[in-house]
Symmetry: C2
């Protein structure tokens, strides 16, 4: 694209680096910002800069937090012996939204993905092992995506943790509630027949 201004070109290039944002979308976003008040745009840019400079991660679970120890880890109402291992803060939010979980979390900060050059040392794996060494945890629940990367991470973590005397579980996989059988993919359906559960256990609370 031939831009009429270098400033415009630079801003579009910066926005186009964001995931899922191409040149045309970036230009649309930048032109939108240009139509806003200066104060509005200043707030946008300072919020972004402040976020990156002042953000903290909880010293225990490594979730994004404003304090040294996050609210969940600091809460006496939470069961500290139950640790749910997730990829990132979005998954913490998703589990919290269910209102079904009363334990604490451990945020890995990603999944093992050799294709993207992400290995165990890039994730909060050692800190999880350390935490289990110190803590009297009874159970670790893996709540990872049902993808290649999720399964690889699960396999690796299980190997690292199996010598601990704790229960290791993963969230149930199968057909989603409300899912119609004819639209379910073959792998999910096949596996959900193989891992069928007694009728009594299948009822949701």
């Amino acid at each position: 694209m031939n831009f009429s201004s270098k400033l415009l070109e630079n801003a579009v290039a910066e926005f186009a680096k964001l995931p899922g944002v191409g040149q045309k979308t970036a230009l649309r976003l930048v032109l939108h910002l240009l139509k806003q008040d200066k104060a509005e745009v200043e707030r946008f840019s300072s919020t972004v800069s402040k976020l990156r400079n002042e953000i903290q991660f909880c010293a225990i679970c490594h979730n994004i937090s404003d304090q040294k120890v996050c609210e969940i880890c600091a809460s006496p109402k939470r069961d500290q012996s139950l640790i749910c291992v997730v990829e990132d803060t979005r998954d913490v939010m998703a589990v919290e939204n269910t209102n079904q979980y009363n334990g604490v979390y451990h945020v890995l900060g990603g999944l093992i993905s050799p294709m993207d050059g992400v290995g165990p040392s890039d994730l909060e794996v050692d800190t999880l092992v350390e935490r289990l060494n110190k803590n009297e945890a009874k159970e670790v629940i893996f709540a990872l995506s049902a993808t290649m990367e999720g399964d690889t991470t699960l396999f690796y973590l299980h190997k690292r943790l199996k010598h601990f005397n704790i229960n290791i579980s993963t969230i149930a996989r199968g057909i989603a509630f409300g899912g119609e059988l004819e639209y379910v993919d073959e792998i999910t359906l096949g596996r959900s027949i193989a891992t069928r559960v007694p009728y009594e256990n299948s009822l949701s609370r």
Copy 2:
């Protein structure tokens, strides 16, 4: 959504104000920025802030520019008596990319849209009239979108400009090159029959 950090929540709220960006996309973009180096994020935020504070608009055509008068208006190779009226800088880029146009531009900065509260006074209409008063323009070409807003603007501008002794034209509307007849909408097809051109004129250069 329940965020674990106020800084995160603020940043997501700022991104969610951008057009076409919802809360989930905003969170994805913010988490992407969090994974980048501090210097990288600093560059992003300062580029945005600099853009808004230092951007200039060409004093003649009102296109975004780094100088007081943009390259196109300042160029002696351009035909200053041919003015193409467009909505915004994206349209200038689109026309420039055709390599078929040698005149200059006038950027309105929007289209008349009563629904969005945009009237002629919000656009660069008076400056266009002024420009035609001063300038020895021979022709004004309207290159506006074929939408309700585009047509309204066209109708209004034609009324404002018709007393000038210049040619007023609009870009041709009809079936796009490569377009298959069966997929063309009825209005376009009906109009393109009504406004049919002699065979000799239909050949592209």
